[in-house]
Symmetry: C2
């Protein structure tokens, strides 16, 4: 058992500081978290080598960072505050000869990546499950959080007339940004305090696909204004390589992990006037309507295909 | 998107009944759980095709059942009550031609297996993440629970003189029982009410390996009595095939998901006298000592290797 999972658990425990939110941390059958007054948020996302990252290209630390960041982004999309994380992992077996050193390096590097982002957002890793197998690296992160302010920011409250916003430029994240997204934790909470968010989501599948999730839950439609979509420089660069329009990349690429949200026109006007979120330019990209999903470009309105990244079953 | 993950999520939502513990169920960025007065338990376990089950042999429903049961077993090992579950999955892609039918069948069968066990223990599946990839089936389950009675039953409170118990016969689970374990949820809570559990764990790695986890956390030792170990008929059957002693299988095989626990001699005597857990025979298998892990057999005491199943990193 000298180089096995129990040594690794011991190594992790030695690196896990005390936290008033955590009564029992890694090393027992369950972690135990102190009771909290607010409602609990819970979200889980699994990332796989070859699908969500290419381990051979980016290395285990970047994989760990992404796995943590995309999960925290779902807490941000509820305007929540993260309180605890557990991680389960399937680590690829390295050769028996190299196992001692390389295997531990892989496991430790993944943990360093996870912790780097967890520390940045002040959330403790309280437990997990570490396995090895002949397959590729798989990381599954579950984040617990708590509701802030006036309750959870859901997808379901958008109404015709509401304005649609995005928290930053989108598209082309595959050029590298998808590995190091900034979950909009503080920004989500700040918006939630400042205005009445009627619907909120983070962009994982793609701007139109994720907006469409809001529209389905809210049972309304939206018109996006092509000129107003903030196109990331990466979308421009990617468009040069693919020959597709930069706007198509901005609308469809996904993994931007910016927030898309809707507010009343009065709240929307306030946000545009005050731009109250430091370091962020809030952009109005459209308005909700009774039904359908539309793109307005040069005075004409075309239906917009909400296709994004879909896992075919 | 017709046969994709969103249809699957919709299918799941249609099968998710309302629950007073759940404010927002599957379909938003996070699930939202009602606040609870007790401390929160959280545990996660990942199961992989080829390691924890052979999908081609057992089918997706059995894989789902096992993934749910082994996670609930960790809640049982804290004498806790499960309150909510999230599941992330990497599903193997089937051929494009068969995708519509077979892919959905796989995903739905996994869900049916998960739900079968979750329903039996009255715990709602509140969210998840469904992916497809070229690799084997991976299921990661995270269970939230709450502490009952006098607090969480930890691994760390055993003291020299305490008696060691197991909740049922062990060994040979690989013959089939490992796929359909009964998490000792009700039994763990009942024991916790009846006596002061000084340390508790569930048997996943193996009786000696898991007892050794208790001993390491409790900084003491134990002597097991060979004659008292309840050997499962499966261990006898497996021993006939392997040529190893049935006792070796009972001590080392693992995945029994019975509870191993320690109590004071007074509480231990009470349990033996009353056998208060319906449907279960509690067996005293040894006593805690100052240090070491020993097996007493025919009047002589031999050191016992705590080797169980260890994932080498």
């Amino acid at each position: 058992m000298s180089a096995g999972e129990f040594d690794y658990i011991r190594w992790i425990r030695g690196r896990t500081p005390g936290d008033p939110r955590v009564l029992v941390g890694p090393g027992d059958d369950c972690a135990v978290l102190a009771p909290r007054a607010a409602a609990t948020l819970v979200t889980t996302d699994m990332l796989m080598d070859g699908v969500d990252f290419i381990l051979a290209d980016v290395g285990p630390r970047a994989a760990g960072r992404k796995a943590m960041a995309v999960n925290l982004s779902d807490i941000a999309a509820m305007a929540g505050a993260p309180t605890a994380v557990v991680v389960s992992a399937a680590l690829p077996q390295v050769s028996p000869a190299a196992r001692g050193e390389e295997g531990r390096t892989l496991a430790e590097e993944v943990f360093h990546g996870l912790r780097e982002i967890a520390d940045r957002f002040d959330v403790p890793i309280v437990g997990g499950d570490t396995n090895t197998w002949a397959g590729p690296l798989v990381l599954s992160v579950t984040v617990l959080g708590e509701v802030t302010g006036r309750g959870p920011a859901l997808r379901s409250g958008a109404r015709p007339g509401d304005w649609v916003f995005v928290t930053g430029p989108v598209g082309g994240s595959i050029l590298g940004r998808h590995l190091a997204p900034t979950p909009r934790i503080a920004e989500g909470q700040a918006l939630h305090r400042l205005v009445a968010l009627t619907a909120t989501i983070d962009i994982s599948d793609g701007l139109t696909a994720d907006l469409n999730h809001i529209l389905e839950e809210s049972r309304c439609g939206a018109v996006l204004s092509a000129d107003s979509i903030p196109i990331h420089p990466d979308a421009m660069e990617l468009a040069r390589r693919t020959g597709r329009p930069p706007l198509a990349h901005a609308l469809g690429d996904g993994e931007d992990f910016e927030l898309v949200f809707t507010v009343s026109p009065a709240d929307g006007a306030k946000l545009l006037r005050e731009q109250p979120i430091a370091g962020l330019r809030l952009v109005k990209i459209g308005e909700c309507v009774a039904s359908g999903l539309w793109l307005e470009e040069g005075g004409s309105r075309q239906p917009l295909d909400p296709a994004g990244w879909v896992h075919a079953l």
